[in-house]
Symmetry: C2
Subunit: 360 residues, 2 copies
């Protein structure tokens, strides 16, 4: 078992480490630098869900040694990512008489992290927050960058806050219990990070996808680490998403259209992003075998490379809604080449029409 590695997300006084290793849960861990107290007596609340709790809550509590921690298990699923659920976490903190030195630990996937992080951001205008992501998607994407939030009937993540964690602890062992479809969906974001920023990593993924699919701990640790490094460097350059951070939306304009058209939950987000990346690559004016390589890698990750057959008109309508929400401008992340992306509102409309007709 290789020792854990640590990378740093550089955000001035909000900088924090991401610790990546195998079998970290179930053993003591030195959390002391990340709590708001010196005596170990501040309130600690673990927020998890009913699926993850039986698997990993005891293991997390072992890492805390003799520090007492309360816990709350939320119902599982995106349907519960609501202001009402976040309010139950806040109620729990209030019931515990948590002070400003309190810490909220999110143990679970992206939904748990988003809700717990938003509650931590709002309680007393911000208390400590720690992420222990247990899905691949959360480990390589949602636990890094400080975005927290909940859904509103009118839109995903419409209510939220930027709230950086004090530390992210990633135990690759948690991936062994992850359902196959969810695991593959997480790989979509790994591929995305390679495609926008690192052709070397892209090549490494081509060589090692079979081993990753078998969830080899060493390969997982490398893929997660490189993904987090890429996301961390983009976030460090643009914490509040004014510009460069939009690169992380590669494939997402199409993915949102797919998800909106199908209804959320029909395809997993990662699946929609997978097909969306192929569409974005097709829209990019690049020659060579880039589109082909991307498609092959995505396919080998067990992910779709074509949009669902719902009709170009429906996708187009969904994109127009998105456009309206963004003050009239539809923006895409396109590729100069594999490993080098850019954001643009200037795209070839007839090429877009072509890309969409694949969904007809």
């Amino acid at each position: 078992m290789p020792p854990p590695t640590t990378i740093k997300v550089a955000l001035a006084e909000r900088s924090y480490p991401i610790v990546i290793g195998s079998e970290l849960l179930g053993r003591a861990f030195d959390w002391s630098p990340y709590f708001g107290d010196s005596l170990g007596d501040s309130t600690c609340l673990v927020v998890t869900n009913t699926t993850v709790a039986p698997l990993w809550l005891d293991g997390l509590k072992t890492t805390l040694r003799d520090r007492r921690a309360a816990s709350i298990a939320l119902p599982d699923g995106e349907a519960h990512k609501s202001l009402a659920t976040a309010a139950t976490v806040i109620d729990k903190l209030a019931d515990l008489h948590a002070g400003r030195d309190a810490t909220v630990i999110a143990l679970g996937g992206g939904v748990v992290g988003d809700i717990a992080g938003f509650a931590a951001a709002c309680y007393m205008r911000g208390v400590g927050f720690i992420q222990v992501p247990t899905t691949l998607l959360a480990q390589v994407d949602s636990s890094v960058g400080g975005k927290t939030g909940v859904n509103h009937p009118q839109g995903k993540n419409l209510i939220g806050a930027f709230h950086q964690p004090k530390v992210v602890l990633i135990d690759t062992a948690t991936l062994q219990t992850l359902p196959e479809r969810e695991f593959c969906a997480g790989l979509a974001e790994v591929i995305k990070h390679a495609a926008i920023a690192d052709i070397g990593f892209f090549g490494w993924l081509e060589s090692n996808m079979a081993g990753l699919r078998k969830r080899d701990p060493g390969l997982l640790a490398h893929a997660i680490r490189r993904s987090c490094e890429i996301k961390a460097s983009v976030v460090a350059a643009d914490e509040r998403e004014q510009g460069r951070r939009a690169l992380l939306n590669f494939g997402h304009t199409f993915a949102h259209a797919i998800e909106n058209s199908l209804g959320y939950g029909e395809w997993l987000h990662g699946e929609a992003v997978a097909a969306g990346m192929v569409m974005a690559a097709r829209l990019s004016d690049i020659g060579g075998d880039a589109v082909e390589r991307l498609s092959v890698l995505i396919d080998s990750a067990g992910l779709p490379i074509e949009p669902p057959r719902i009709g170009a008109g429906k996708l187009r309508a969904a994109m127009d809604l998105d456009k309206k929400a963004q003050a009239g401008k539809l923006r895409f992340v396109l590729l100069h080449e594999l490993g080098r992306a850019f954001v643009t509102g200037d795209y070839d409309a007839s090429r877009l029409a072509e890309v969409l007709t694949r969904a007809a």
Copy 2:
């Protein structure tokens, strides 16, 4: 009518101006630097309450000229400063399909500003926010500094965010319609600012209290301006209340105990702060006529200089609760002398007992 004056709250990229004048509402105002768009077509939502709307909503809309603005009138009163009310503001923004370039304008007192600011902080992780405070308390205190939030059954302002406005527009004309008791409560915070930071301003208040009580526009403009300057300089040095900002809590440890013991709403916050400042001055180990001068000034502002007769034991118990919430340390803001305050956890316990017995 003197021309409006502008002071600046210096918070790096979150810096913003406070514009103070008389009869600004009802006339065109150049808001363009403070909206998130250039075309004047972004969503603008005015959040006000049912008391203020009939008085000032039309006047505010006149300042906006031909920019279209939606509005929502919340029920009046602290009892409605809840997450549920904030959610109605968020619902309204969602119904309007407001984008990231949207602006929320708070028109009203501290409650309206706190709710509207929190909704603006959370909607899409933060949209534009403008404060148009219409009470003296909001003009000299709550509209400056970026604290937003709502109450929880377990505590005041337990849910919130730091979210700085783009601009604060203060029209002293709005004070002409303010009930006497609320007006005087606002004077408590003006006196507080003088007592902690500016003996010259304290003397000016002693000389001009009679005119202020008559709501002379010129005197009001000066008092508001100097108050905002003092608060702005403290906030600029410590935006997130790690240290120096605590000076603004002069009188507040006692005030919270009074409010908690009486039940919130019995005394206005400013009234509790008034009596609390005299108590804090008594607890300060200062000679001369400082306590006397402070008491006389507070009395001349139509405010109480003694706590309600609820018994020292009850006040003490309320303070002990506060102490627990603050991780075991009761902290006071005390005076070196009038105009110079400091924060300390090191106070004379027998002197505190004496101060509290006045409430017996």
